[in-house]
């Protein structure tokens, strides 16, 4: 179960990304229930993630597994594990700050400005945001002024 990877960021598992909330097994029937949550409400990868979970469980002998989707508590980038952050960085995706000050946009008034996002390729802090919206709902597009390479940044939410 923990080996299922995110279909759009294939270096990180759904557990490390923090979208796998629980795996429960009914002691009487043996039926497995998996609880997941989306990063963004419109995340188009959710159907693929559900299918991948079912496939992994079927391979482990649980073909009647139930996959539930919950929205509360809402996912934030604080749910990404330390191992997940390291893998993102290794794959050239700058991870979000470890702890989001003030609970990200939780107050509903201020979008946090991420200061000093380090280039995942050369490590320089001389970077700039090109666009707040990137190739997937959860990423922003940045550029490194030192090595001139563009890179993805998993934006704080």
């Amino acid at each position: 179960m923990a080996a299922v990877v995110d279909p759009e960021i294939r270096v990180i598992t759904i557990d490390e990304l923090g979208i796998l909330r629980a795996v429960d097994q009914d002691p009487a029937t043996g039926r497995v229930t998996v609880t997941i949550t989306p990063t963004y409400t419109g995340c188009p990868a959710m159907d693929v993630i559900r299918a991948d979970i079912r496939r992994a469980l079927a391979a482990a002998g649980h073909s009647d597994a139930d996959v539930r989707t919950v929205y509360s508590p809402a996912w934030s980038t604080d749910w990404i594990s330390a191992a997940g952050r390291a893998k993102l960085a290794a794959a050239g995706i700058a991870p979000p700050p470890a702890v989001t000050p003030g609970g990200a946009a939780g107050a509903g008034t201020v979008v946090p400005l991420t200061l000093a996002v380090r280039c995942p390729l050369c490590g320089s802090a001389e970077t700039e945001q090109v666009s707040r919206f990137g190739s997937t709902a959860c990423k922003a597009l940045w550029r490194c002024r030192a090595c001139r390479e563009p890179f993805d940044h998993l934006k704080a939410l």
Binding site: T41, G42, Y71, S72, G108, V111, F133, A137, L157
Partner: protein
Amino acid sequence: MRQPFDFALALGDDALVAAQRLGEWTSRAPEMEEDVALANIALDQLGAARLLLTYAGELEGAGRDEDALAYLRDDREFRNCLLVELPNGDFAVTMAKLLLLSAYQLPLYAALAGCADERLAAIGAKARKESAYHRDHAALWVRRLGDGTAESHRRMQAAVDHVWPYAHELFAPWPGAPVDPATLRDDFDAYVGPVLAEATLTRPADGWAPAGGRDGVHTEHLSYLLAEMQVLHRAHPGAQW
């Protein structure tokens, strides 16, 4: 008539129609980054719409799911505000629309996050984080265009003047709703006012206040939007793609 179903439907329709309009920019935005940004915002709106319409269908209890509500209703059965159905216009109009919409949706979703209805609270808690990005993005462009060249200033002011009357409908009192939209107006004004000032734009005077969307009385633009959005599903009922 004004049941929880109507409330979830109204909010869901706002998000759905906004998503459809924003999606029209895909491949046509002024620059590639903006193309991606508008598509991302459309996707967020669509995500909220799916949750809200699914919930509305459950509240109604007549067996309608999100697809039945999105694809099999005519314009008179839609409850979205008029603002979201207005044509995109130029980029300034789109940003003016997005500023007003997000400055309404953000405090709305934030208030929903604390409401007694657990499902709406969960949707609100999720969607408000996304709305914060939408509002920030719109405000950035309104400032940049308003305080830009003479031509960008002229077009941004014209856009704000054009859409401003449609903001009033968003805050029409709805007694008994999980969140009464009338309570959100102060938050809206407190945000939009300074953005317009920083953008060197003039806040339009309040006057004409078109409404009717919440009662299913729309502008002519909605039926054309729905025709495009619904044609595939109506031609091939139940199709998956």
